[in-house]
């Protein structure tokens, strides 16, 4: 019964979404207040019904109702409760329901918090938000109904891929969805502004927190996925430029650009059409990400199902959303009045240039991802574009970007003095250069790119600290005074400092771990020793162990490091009961200087086992840096200017109404 109820609730939500899409838009065009007002209750109702539908599906998972097709395919009665619940979104149909529920949630949030917005703008935003929703409801109901029943009810489900049974992956998809869907709000605001024909700082003050929120989720989602790949997949890698990884990285690049250009709109009333375009592109990339994963059109470790009907639907949907909004942009963008001017050397310019680099980077990732598809479609040549392509291009393209980042954060708005800034940067430039020279000496013969990147990463780190020090007038005023200034920094500047600092730290980690990783492998019997880096590994024993839904072999390995410290490591190789898959659980020893990563392979007979070990210098810097970036984003989001009912915004909004 619960499945039919869920299905019915979805249809109800679709009906409300249709209402919400059509009536407020007409109302806004006619200036009919009552029709515009309909947007809010429709948005609340739509969220209510989609949320109930989501609960219905979750219920079917929790009680292991295998008469529901998705539950039978993806769940198992022996699975721990956490993974039963995460199974709800761990498949195609369920993840769509999850998507559309958040889409409706964000719509309801705009309806609720948007009371200070001009009535017509809010009506149009809600309408656009609902249009996207209609597409998703139709997609679900027509091609991938999560509530489909099975005629032959199996006694036991297929189980969830054991690789996915990991806490990191319980939270990875929801965060990604929240990021993707969060960008839909920004998109709706952009489309509404195009229809209204106006963008002003008040608009940017709305768009910026939404972008920031979506960006925080997206960043967290990507990092969790990467972290999961690192710990779970047992090859010690954390990023492979797989199409699906790229699919989440492209919207991230564009959202990062958008985050920065929205600042320019808000503070300087400039770069308006560019910001609108970025908002459209960011959401388009989110949809494209969904398309790439869902259609199975590109070979990826993530895409298992190829279903032409679904692919076709998404293609049409994509064409309508992306094509339609870009067309609207082409027709209407010249209506947006150009705002504040700025000199070629100014903070605006540097933000603009970095926006360009980020967008070009996104375009390159897009090309690299689609190249195999294009070459197959047009020339019948099957090929793949590997990691070296992306690494080379990012390694080069990001150099001028980081250089601009360093200069840009020291430049003043409107017009800046490049000579003064250069003089201020001399000291830290010297330090970074010396560090690069030292790296060159230590790693002699290991290539020039890592050396350059160590220098640049450190330069950015120091520059970010120096910028903060300048702002609080450290060493220019009594230390007490500086501390007081430090505490009084607005939260959005903390966001910038932490964001850039985290980026620099992550950058250094990335350079070290991808340039100087060491790897060793050996077939070992008990008592034999393998050397890697400063560690020597002695295999003591291999024992069988039993887990809740798997059996495993566990290696007991004594590790001695050069400084004499000794510890035991326990890598496992697990075989799951529900599906005949083995997974490796690497034993990881994390230090600030680097991770030791040990994996046990298959038995080679005669008590001999294949063992692999990696030494990954500064790997943990990547995770620490990413955490600092996210923290910076959250602090910036809590800035009082964005709080509901903040007097500043309200007065602007009121002024707008008066002008109307």
């Amino acid at each position: 019964m619960i499945a039919e109820l869920g299905h019915y609730l979805l249809v109800l939500a679709l009906g409300l979404a249709l209402l919400q899409a059509i009536l407020p838009m007409i109302g806004a065009a006619r200036g009919d207040g009552r029709m515009m007002m309909l947007g809010q209750p429709a948005a609340y109702g739509q969220f209510f019904f989609s949320f109930l539908a989501f609960l219905a599906l979750s219920y079917a998972y929790v009680i292991s109702d295998f008469s529901v097709a998705v539950v039978a395919r993806n769940s198992h009665s022996l699975k721990p409760l956490l993974y039963k619940i995460s199974g709800v979104w761990g498949n195609h149909e369920g993840s769509l329901l999850f998507w559309v529920m958040f889409l409706a949630l964000f719509g309801a949030m705009v309806a609720y918090f948007g009371r200070g917005l001009p009535q017509s703008l809010r009506a149009r935003v809600l309408s656009v938000q609902a249009m996207v929703g209609v597409g998703f409801y139709l997609f679900m109901l027509l091609t991938s109904n999560p509530f489909d029943r099975l005629v032959d009810v199996p006694l036991e489900g297929n189980g969830l891929n054991p690789l996915l049974q990991d806490p990191g992956l319980v939270f990875h998809p929801p965060f990604l969805y929240l990021g993707y869907v969060g960008l839909s709000v920004v998109f709706s605001f952009a489309i509404a502004a195009l229809i209204e024909g106006r963008v002003d700082p008040a608009w940017a003050r709305w768009v910026r927190p939404w972008t920031l929120l979506a960006w925080i989720f997206l960043t967290t989602g990507i990092v969790l996925g990467s972290w999961w790949a690192y710990y779970e997949l047992g090859w010690g890698g954390w990023w492979a430029w797989d199409p699906v990884e790229n699919a989440s990285f492209m919207p991230w690049l564009v959202a990062t650009a958008l985050l920065h250009s929205a600042i320019v709109v808000e503070k300087r009333d400039s770069l308006k059409s560019w910001t609108i375009l970025l908002a459209i592109l960011a959401f388009s990339f989110s949809l494209l990400g969904t398309f790439i994963v869902r259609s199975g059109i590109i070979t990826s470790v993530h895409a298992f199902a190829t279903d032409p009907e679904r692919g076709f639907f998404i293609l049409i949907f994509l064409a309508l959303v992306i094509g339609g909004s870009l067309l609207l942009f082409a027709i209407r963008s010249d209506r947006l009045q150009a705002g504040g001017m700025f000199a070629p050397i100014s903070r605006e310019s540097s933000l603009m240039i970095n926006n360009l680099f980020l967008s070009v980077a996104a375009a390159v990732v897009l090309y690299g991802t689609l190249h195999p598809l294009l070459s197959d479609a047009f020339f019948g040549v099957k090929s793949s574009v590997g990691a070296p392509f992306f690494n080379l291009i990012f390694g080069l393209l990001m150099i001028p970007m980081v250089v601009t980042m360093v200069f840009g954060s020291h430049l003043k708005w409107k017009r800046a003095d490049v000579k003064g800034v250069s003089q201020r940067l001399i000291a830290i430039t010297g330090i970074a250069f010396l560090a690069a020279l030292m790296t060159f000496y230590i790693t002699y013969g290991g290539g020039i790119m890592p050396v350059i990147w160590v220098g640049i990463g450190l330069w950015l780190l120091l520059s970010t600290l120096q910028e903060l020090a300048t702002r609080i007038k450290l060493f220019q005023r009594p230390i007490k005074d500086s501390m007081r200034r430090l505490m009084r920094q607005p939260r959005s500047s903390w966001g910038m400092s932490l964001g850039h600092l985290g980026f620099a730290i992550a950058l250094l980690g990335i350079v070290a771990t991808s340039s100087w990783t060491r790897e060793a492998q050996q077939v070992m019997a008990a008592g034999e020793v393998m050397q890697i880096g400063d560690y020597s590994l002695t295999l003591k024993d291999v024992i069988p162990v039993t887990g809740p839904n798997y059996t495993a072999v566990r290696g007991i390995i004594a590790v001695t490091s050069k400084d004499g410290a000794t510890f035991l490591a326990y890598p496992e190789s697990r075989t799951y009961i529900a599906s005949p898959i083995t997974t490796t659980e690497g034993a990881v020893r994390t230090k600030l200087s680097g991770d030791l990563f040990i994996v046990i392979g298959e038995s080679q007979g005669g008590g001999r086992w294949g063992l692999r070990a990696y030494y990954k210098p500064m790997q943990v810097w990547l995770w620490i840096g990413a955490a600092i970036i996210v923290l910076g984003g959250m602090i910036s989001l809590s800035d009082r200017r964005y709080r509901i009912g903040s007097p500043h915004r309200k007065s602007v909004a009121e002024r707008r109404v008066n002008v109307l």
Binding site: G90, P344, V385, T582
Partner: protein
């Protein structure tokens, strides 16, 4: 009036600067892409195509096909493993040598993709054997190749659809 005209002029000039900067960055990127693509595109061949296209020794490419049943041998030398197996598309077969530990899901009869090059003796020396997530999963290229060679049997739909969300 004159002042407004001047301002419009500066605006235009600045827009021109902006356009030029964008074009420069974009051009740089295109150049980079073209250079990088040359080195990092890996063409995909199945065993039949290796013979048909006359792939030269030393040329890097991706080989895909099924691991032939009963062909797998693992030879241990100096504490390290050399794996020896054959990859087939049902029409032609090629011998593969891989020095390293194979991914968890490697089995005979399973579809694989390996990266590497042919040596002078006509043996494929793999530098990497790609690991995939799922026991049901077949690399798309291998599926296409097997279809072409008439070796492909579609599995029942229930086990075919298995994915993990975005």
């Amino acid at each position: 009036m004159a002042k407004v005209g001047l301002k419009a002029g500066t605006r235009k000039r600045r827009r021109l600067y902006l356009m030029l900067t964008s074009l420069a960055i974009f051009g740089l990127a295109v150049m980079l892409v073209l250079t990088a693509l040359e080195d990092s595109i890996r063409l995909f061949y199945d065993p039949t195509e290796i013979i048909e296209k006359g792939v030269k020794p030393g040329q890097n490419f991706r080989l895909g096909g099924l691991v032939e049943k009963g062909s797998f041998k693992s030879i241990e030398t100096a504490g390290s493993l050399i794996n020896h197996f054959s990859v087939t598309d049902g029409n032609a077969t090629v011998s593969v040598l891989f020095n390293g530990l194979l991914p968890d899901l490697f089995r005979e009869g399973q579809g694989i993709v390996a990266e590497g090059a042919m040596n002078d003796a006509g043996v494929f020396i793999a530098s990497e054997v790609l690991a995939k997530h799922d026991e049901n999963y077949m690399p798309k290229e291998v599926v296409d190749s097997l279809k072409k060679r008439g070796e492909w049997q579609r599995k029942p739909a229930a086990t075919d659809v298995k994915d993990e969300g975005l």
